[in-house]
Symmetry: C2
Subunit: 336 residues, 2 copies
């Protein structure tokens, strides 16, 4: 090859501040590891709506309003909403956007959406294009399960490699003004496919993409894992994050105890979720609760947040295709 | 209200150049109005693949390679692919991205995707974040029809308000260097819903969003329709574009003979498509063939290209929801 590797990372000259963030989760998630950190725990999966899809949308709207409120601004002050989700035609996002008076830029990165929206939003703020941008995403166990796998009513057994799609939504408000943790760089990922075809093994499908983006990030920023207080992947789960550790070690990079995974951490051992949490809402809710609070408190000064997405489609799986993955990353620092 | 209207428009300080563009269409589209302008007309809807979804993906890959070739660069020189389509989980885009060695940013704006990707890509280039960005999208009559409406095998009658999803893909390569038409501003749209529930009347569902973005554009840039040689909407079709003309007139703005619509123009009268073309590929293929050629030739010096999207979802329609719309716009000028 010989050709120098392409730069995948933007270093921001005017790093945006996260002036507000909000995480809302379902009842099961609200009993998990981060139960004391979420802003709101829904008492019922339906959240008072007659369908799971509407419940998911309501949680997303709730997250956007909550984040604006915590930022001390009105939703009218938000210029742009960068938002996506797992449902077909990203309906949670599109219908949530309808409720607010703002520009809507729909994005799709499957479970990497929180990092994708933060990366794109940061680039817009850095360039001075807008003042306040809301980056948000959501997922719902029941709406995702019936769309991607089987109707819940079927009572299917879940294999040991399965992850549990989190019922959760998260939103961060990025701003050129104000106080809060800052986003100092963003690394965009490539689509990577290691020929995994098992719709119940998302971790294995995403790990190669996580490796690709992580290597690009360390290379582009000339950093090593030791430069971060926390390196956190989106939702590789237990199996996927072990695969990532192995893949990185083969590349000569050792991920140490400062590495963890939102999917692996989200639920407790006795919650019967096998390989851990997944879904856009998993990393979105962990970031917008625990991680950002710990950055604000000064426990973490520099965090590499990398959300991973399995570009899973029932249609393409039925047509014999494998499941490609993608991962995007942002560096979040305490700032002054 | 009293509050000043929010700015939805970015004026670029370093306008990106469209250094290459490519349009590929299906056989029916290849017999339409712009038959002499397309780069490639596929002879068979299957394009040698065993499913329509794979055919659509292949057309999209073809468009990306073709645009890079016409730009005089290798696909390896493309830093970022901004891409989306109509299929669930935007599989045409994700799987096409897998074929290339580049960063992939998935976007979703339904049929507004060509303008959305150009607007976002221009913002990235303007800020100096990347050198070459490919903006692309596709649609396929047969894959869209079975996903959004009925299986073709059912032989359903089409009502007179229906539009024909174009089998087409288009790609523009944006660059900070080189020659070509320039993108001087971009206007991002809001999600607008006028309570249309008919999945066979997309034009009516999108027209209010088109009005909203067009009004914002004229307001933000302090221009009138007379300032443009061509104002072209995405795929409102005959009915939708008439509704837009009426809505704009109610707002005191008269759209004259310099206004037209890609959906309305794409097919000939005897092609039996009722209200005209639609789908991401409709505006993408008309832009990347006829319109950009006429800009290069100097026939048009300043064009407002506004693609419109109906955020239609079979799931939400079944749950009694109406169909919201969104529209995004870019101004393309001849440059020097």
């Amino acid at each position: 090859m010989g050709k120098e590797k392409k730069n995948q990372t933007i270093k921001f000259k005017h790093p945006p501040k996260i002036i507000g963030n909000y995480a809302i989760v379902g009842p099961k998630e609200g009993e998990g590891t981060f139960k004391d950190y979420f802003d709101y725990v829904v008492q019922n999966d339906n959240f008072g709506e007659d369908t799971y899809e509407k419940a998911e949308r309501k949680m997303l709207e709730h997250a956007i309003m909550g984040a604006a409120d915590k930022a001390g601004i009105s939703t009218k002050d938000i210029d742009v909403l960068l938002c996506g989700d797992l449902l077909n035609q990203i309906i949670s996002s599109s219908y949530a956007a309808r409720s607010f008076d703002l520009c809507y830029l729909g994005v799709f990165g499957a479970c990497s959406t929180m990092a994708l929206s933060l990366a794109m939003g940061s680039a817009f703020i850095d360039a001075g294009h807008f003042q306040n941008i809301a980056c948000a995403t959501s997922s719902h166990f029941s709406s995702a399960e019936r769309q991607f796998r089987y109707p819940l009513e079927l009572g299917n057994q879940r294999p040991p490699t399965a992850q549990w799609t989190a019922t959760a939504a998260g939103c961060s408000i990025l701003s050129s003004e104000g106080d809060g943790p800052i986003i100092t760089s963003a690394t965009f990922g490539k689509v990577i496919d290691f020929d995994i075809c098992d719709v119940n093994n998302m971790g294995a499908a995403m790990a190669p993409a996580a490796m690709s983006t992580m290597l690009a990030h360390f290379r582009d920023t000339n950093t090593t894992p030791d430069d971060y207080d926390l390196i956190v992947t989106g939702d590789l789960g237990k199996l996927g994050s072990e695969i990532l550790i192995d893949l990185m070690e083969e590349e000569g990079i050792k991920l140490g105890i400062n590495y963890c995974d939102c999917g692996q951490m989200m639920f407790k051992h006795d919650q019967n979720v096998f390989m851990g949490g997944s879904g856009c809402g998993c990393s979105a809710s962990v970031l917008n609760s625990f991680i950002l609070r710990k950055i604000r408190e000064g426990v973490y000064k520099k965090v590499l947040f990398m959300a991973t997405g399995a570009l899973l489609s029932p249609t393409s799986c039925q047509q014999g295709e494998s499941i490609p993955g993608v991962a995007h990353a942002v560096v979040i620092e305490k700032g002054e």
